[in-house]
Symmetry: C2
Subunit: 241 residues, 2 copies
Amino acid sequence: MDRQDRDGLPAYERIKAEIRTRIREGEWGPGDPIPGESELAASFGVSRLTAHRALRELAREGVIERRRRRGSRVAVRTGRDIVLEIPRIERLVAELGAVYELRLLARRTLVPPAEIRARLELAAGERALHLLLLHLADRRPFQLEDRWINLLAVPAAADADFTAIAPGSWLLEHVPWSEAEHVIAAENADPATAAALGIRPGEAVLVIERRTRNRNRVVTWARFRHPGASYRLATAFAPRS
Amino acid sequence: MDRQDRDGLPAYERIKAEIRTRIREGEWGPGDPIPGESELAASFGVSRLTAHRALRELAREGVIERRRRRGSRVAVRTGRDIVLEIPRIERLVAELGAVYELRLLARRTLVPPAEIRARLELAAGERALHLLLLHLADRRPFQLEDRWINLLAVPAAADADFTAIAPGSWLLEHVPWSEAEHVIAAENADPATAAALGIRPGEAVLVIERRTRNRNRVVTWARFRHPGASYRLATAFAPRS
DNA sequence: CCACGAGATTTGCATATACATATTCCGCTG
DNA sequence: CAGCGGAATATGTATATGCAAATCTCGTGG
């Protein structure tokens, strides 16, 4: 691009990498001040805007904190939350090296019971799509999915073929933007769940509930159950702001 | 700032908001092309660089996809993962409206058993700090924490007072940067765990394991156990790239 | 001695301009 | 008509410059 892109990296990326290295190596500890935009610009031989971009992006990534007049300093990460990524079910199974299968156990459009109606934030008497599915890994039960879909938010779901694609994947591809709330818990399998998952009643089951919103409407609510003994949800995270 | 910051927002933020709104309202669906930098610059009355910044940030946030010559389009979110935030234990308890307490059950520096040594990626014969803690919410057992800390990575941990601050929080404040892997599972409580958590043996327990790295070294490995019946880890997410 | 206001400093936003780079499109050639 | 090469186009990076906003410091007046 310009004089010195010896690493093939843009100048602002080289500055970011340099600062990150010094923080990682402990040269600059949490709370320590780091050079300002003008100083960095001079020492790297770039314009202030380029140094500004490097610092701005580091700030957005949560690596540093910036305030006018006060300058930039290494972020103190108190209160930082841990972030956990849950892959989609097909990928999860694929990463185990197992063959993924989907079985649609039930599909009905009906007026949901009061408890579900509240979770979907639906008007009284409004109908919703209810699905019961079993996800298999190498022909063994892997996840039992109990899902309700708000047809007012996603009318196209009424015509989707959920024997071919998991509702979670279908929704990800058809709903433009969303937020979700999660509940994670453990419970002892009741007889019905035990039968569906092929375990003994009372065995520990990992339960994940997810409610997804779009445009202030609840799109879907789902409860996933995994045999606790055989299943482990392993993920990686990077700390973020 | 300039001519028109009627919302108090910078120009690039107003452009981002406008684009996000059109996507959310469905005017532009997944995969649809959106106006280019020059076009946006003209229609908003800003320079191309300002429009560029708006689009660049939206791309980084995963809202749109950009390619040279091809232009920008609304992201198709297939393969997108779900992200889940786990708050720190103190905040988790505080959000339940309960009083948080910490009880240090055991603290020893010793050569870890082989299984733990492998998890910490420690050399043979190397010593590590082992902690056993009980976290209480309103005087009731909330979480049992079994933690090992690599003293080579965090020597200062040897002198920390873990009766006053939870190891997780202490580490967040003293280790400059880190990544982690998680395992989530459900299991039936063994007698020892049941006794510590005040539940009956066999009851479902939510298990979370976390291994944290820094500078390619394992900093700490911990296993958390929650009474499954009483505890629900509720979190929210926003989809990201 | 404290309060208040005037710099000084640092980050934040925006412009105009220039050139680099990736990729598509189109037309030329065989 | 297939394949190749160059033009066109949109994004990507960088410069120099100017002003805005936040906030710390210091000096002055009551």
